[in-house]
């Protein structure tokens, strides 16, 4: 366990409202712009925790239908990510958080689904930040979250989201010396294609609660410097996870690295390659998605047996 967690968590009374968090974040950004204040180049210590979180069954069903998950009573790993997301955001929204929350780019995500979680379960969700580091085009950090069965120490889900504050360079944090190498990509034969309408961003916002303006419509996206709205990274990754299907079993690790954003509307080509062991048991499924017209890679990742 990290050093930060030795501190007692700050217990929030309820799952914070993401829309309030985004508003506050916008206000914070404006204030920093006006005051030109440079906060301390270090992450807040300590974690935030919300206890006894319950799942809304109607929201779960909508999520499962939208993402193509089987509508079972087990929470999809991406749904738990969405459940934990406001708690994570509340950490990034603290006054002592050194980076602007709005406009941060999701670089990659790692999830460990350690046990199946039924919707009837009551959950404790804790989130904190780690690994503030230089990136060739800004500053990156990890946001960690873990979900436990309420009142127990049993961790059922763990997630690490790596974000980049583009163009933000903090004093005392150096850029990495080795620039990340752009790997060349030749699109494979697709196993599927997604037709994503303009409303995909709004629909995922509806089931995940993540109303980040860059996903909602062209107007709100333009306000944040994007030519058009883009699909949520976790929407894309969660659809890939759903496409991997029942082979993944109840416990698995799920990874995704994001590259070119998916501007909406879009046609996304996808390949899922499954590997089985000698005994025929599923071992992992690797996925990659790209723009079939330009051949640019949107994201890639894997789901691996635990």
């Amino acid at each position: 366990m990290s050093g930060q967690l030795a501190e007692q968590p700050i217990i929030l009374g309820d799952v914070p409202s993401l829309s309030k968090l985004y508003l506050n974040a916008a206000a914070n950004t404006a204030r920093r712009r006006i005051l030109g204040a440079h906060p301390d180049p270090k992450l807040p210590t300590g974690s935030h925790e919300v206890r006894a979180v319950r799942v809304d069954i109607a929201k779960l069903t909508s999520y499962q239908h939208l993402l193509g998950e089987t509508a079972s009573d087990v929470l999809p790993a991406g749904f738990i990510h969405a459940l934990a997301f406001p708690v994570s955001m509340s950490v990034l929204n603290r006054d002592d958080f050194p980076l602007p929350l709005l406009g941060m780019i999701h670089l990659k995500n790692h999830v460990e689904q350690l046990a199946p979680v039924l919707f009837t379960e009551t959950l404790d969700i804790r989130a904190w930040t780690e690994n503030l580091a230089g990136h060739r085009s800004g500053t990156q950090l990890d946001v960690l979250a873990e979900v436990r069965i309420h009142g127990t120490e049993k961790v059922v889900w763990r997630g690490t989201s790596t974000y980049l504050a583009k163009g933000v360079f903090l004093p005392g944090i150096d850029k990495p010396l080795v620039p990340s190498q752009g790997t060349s990509f030749t699109p494979p034969v697709p196993t599927g294609v997604w037709e994503l309408g303009l409303d995909v961003g709004r629909m995922y916002a509806g089931v995940s609660g993540d109303f980040n303006p860059i996903h909602l419509n062209a107007l709100s996206a333009r306000a944040l410097g994007l030519p058009r709205s883009i699909a949520h990274g976790m929407y894309l990754a969660s659809r890939a996870l759903a496409d991997v299907g029942a082979a993944r079993g109840e416990t698995f690790a799920w990874d995704v690295q994001f590259e070119a954003p998916v501007f909406l509307p879009a046609r996304v080509a996808l390949e899922i390659a499954t590997s089985q062991g000698m005994n025929g048991h599923w071992q992992h499924s690797d996925y990659v998605a790209w723009n079939p017209r330009s051949g640019r890679r949107h994201f890639s990742g894997s789901v691996t047996a635990l």
Binding site: G68, V189, P190, T191, G192, V193, E271, I272, P292
Partner: protein, 457 residues
């Protein structure tokens, strides 16, 4: 009580013996094809643009009734289906029976296995006849791409359903306020596979490229289909297999005068985003089609008692499915696995078959199937054989044309093929001193396939 201790079960049925034992000792009898009837297939938006599934199925059924004198006859069971079906047509087949000249006491049920619907109807009913549950049956299928069901959007549907459940006016207003302009856009059916988002043509394009099937080979197969079907019409082969409907006498898709040059001039429509050359055109792919087909099946006794023909016996059938979702196998390749299993069970090889009816979903489907059977490695690693499964003698393949020329109203294709093959088998009678044998192979959406062996009677 175990069956083995009751040797005279048939004579003993009432004396306290297990009913299950007496039924299980009944010997299987033959199920034969008496004949078939279909309406000519129309191109979507053509002669049957305003005809519903029920209209067409009833028309095909009425022709069958007229041909075999089945007016007021109580048939054991009628089974048919449609792939594109309105929700109001939940009892499509029973409604068609009620609208036909059959006895209204004829039971009927709907079934659906995508493009294999007609084949599954034939096999299921033949099994009931074999078991002695029924003496006669009509299998069929119908589809319309013209009169396809169009659903309201999910948004509008949810609002309408919630509205229906609402109790108060304010509640209703709140629900109505959820409506958005986009909710008014209708939701039309597509040929896309739900799990991959790829259309059937795009799936086949992957398989066609994988088996390196050339454009020329596909166009040749399409040309053969048109020539063979045209020749069969010219010699009157379909005269007792078809009833004209809505002014159509022949399948509207048939192009007797097509040529390799004309086919070669068509632009590819599928597989254009693959690195391999795009080879699939509107000429070597089946068009969207409207039509219906029926087949009359019976026990030998039932046919003999009415002086009706016994064209062929339904010997055996097999269904298979492939794991196509992540590309382990091609979407339409299930028959590649079903046929070796079926022939293996019957102790036959491809060389023992006199007529092959391989449904031409796309020319590439047929040619990929043949290529997989001829492939040594595929035979060893995927089919579990000592080597390649075998080679289909092309002179025995789809000799009276198939779906590329006739068209393919999804659920009607099985009935078309079974009736056509039964007549061909009956016409050729014996081959090498044994009854002529035919193999039917139909691929279907969802990575499925149904195949069957028929024998001349």
């Amino acid at each position: 009580m175990p069956a083995a201790e009751q040797p005279e079960s048939a004579a003993n049925q009432v004396s306290g013996q297990s009913l299950a034992a007496s039924v299980s000792e009944r010997s299987l009898r033959k199920a034969v094809v008496v004949g078939g009837n279909r309406i000519p297939f129309a191109r979507a938006g053509g002669a049957y643009a305003k005809s519903s599934n029920k209209d067409m199925l009833t028309a095909a059924l009425d022709g069958l009734i007229a041909r075999f004198g089945l007016q007021d006859e109580r048939i054991g069971e009628v089974a048919a289906g449609a792939v594109l079906k309105h929700s109001r047509d939940f009892n499509l087949t029973r409604e068609a029976v009620l609208g036909s000249a059959l006895s209204p006491e004829t039971p009927a049920y709907d079934l659906q296995q995508a493009c294999a619907t007609g084949m599954e109807a034939v096999l299921g009913l033949a099994n009931k006849i074999k078991l002695g549950q029924i003496d006669s049956a009509i299998a069929g299928g119908v589809d319309t791409a013209s009169d396809a069901p169009i659903a309201v959007s999910e948004g509008l549907r949810e609002v309408l359903l919630d509205l229906n459940r609402a109790r108060t006016v304010p509640e209703r207003l709140r629900i109505l306020a959820r409506l958005r302009p986009k909710d008014l856009a209708p939701d039309a059916p597509t040929t896309g596979e739900p799990r991959t988002g790829l259309s059937m043509g795009e799936h086949q394009a992957l398989t066609t490229a994988q088996w390196k099937i050339t454009r020329g080979a596909q166009d040749e197969l399409a040309l053969d289909s048109h020539r063979n079907l045209a020749a069969a019409y010219d010699r009157g082969f379909f005269d007792d297999l078809m009833t004209p409907y809505r002014g159509l006498q022949r399948d509207a898709n048939l192009r007797p005068d097509t040529s390799l040059e004309k086919l070669a001039a068509l632009k590819p429509v599928f597989g254009k985003s693959l690195r391999a050359e795009a080879t699939m055109t509107a000429g070597n792919s089946t068009p969207l089609t409207d039509g219906a087909a029926t087949v009359l099946l019976a026990s030998e006794e039932w046919a003999e008692a009415r002086g009706l023909p016994k064209l062929a016996t339904i010997v055996d059938g097999e269904a298979a499915a492939v794991d196509f979702v992540h590309g382990k196998d091609g979407l339409l390749m299930a028959p590649v696995f079903a046929v070796p299993r079926l022939l293996g069970r019957l102790g036959l090889t491809l060389d023992d078959i006199d007529f092959f009816e391989i449904h031409e979903a796309f020319a590439g489907t047929v040619l990929s199937t043949l290529a997989a059977w001829e492939d040594d490695k595929f035979g060893r690693t995927r089919l579990g054989l000592g080597g390649a499964f075998g080679k289909v003698d092309r002179s025995r393949l789809n000799v009276n044309g198939s779906s590329l020329a006739a068209g393919h109203p999804f659920a009607a294709t099985g009935g078309r093929i079974v009736a056509t093959l039964a007549k061909m088998l009956h016409d050729s009678g014996t081959v090498d001193g044994r009854p002529a044998r035919g193999l039917v192979s139909v691929c279907a959406a969802g990575g499925q396939g149904v195949v069957a062996v028929l024998e001349a009677n």
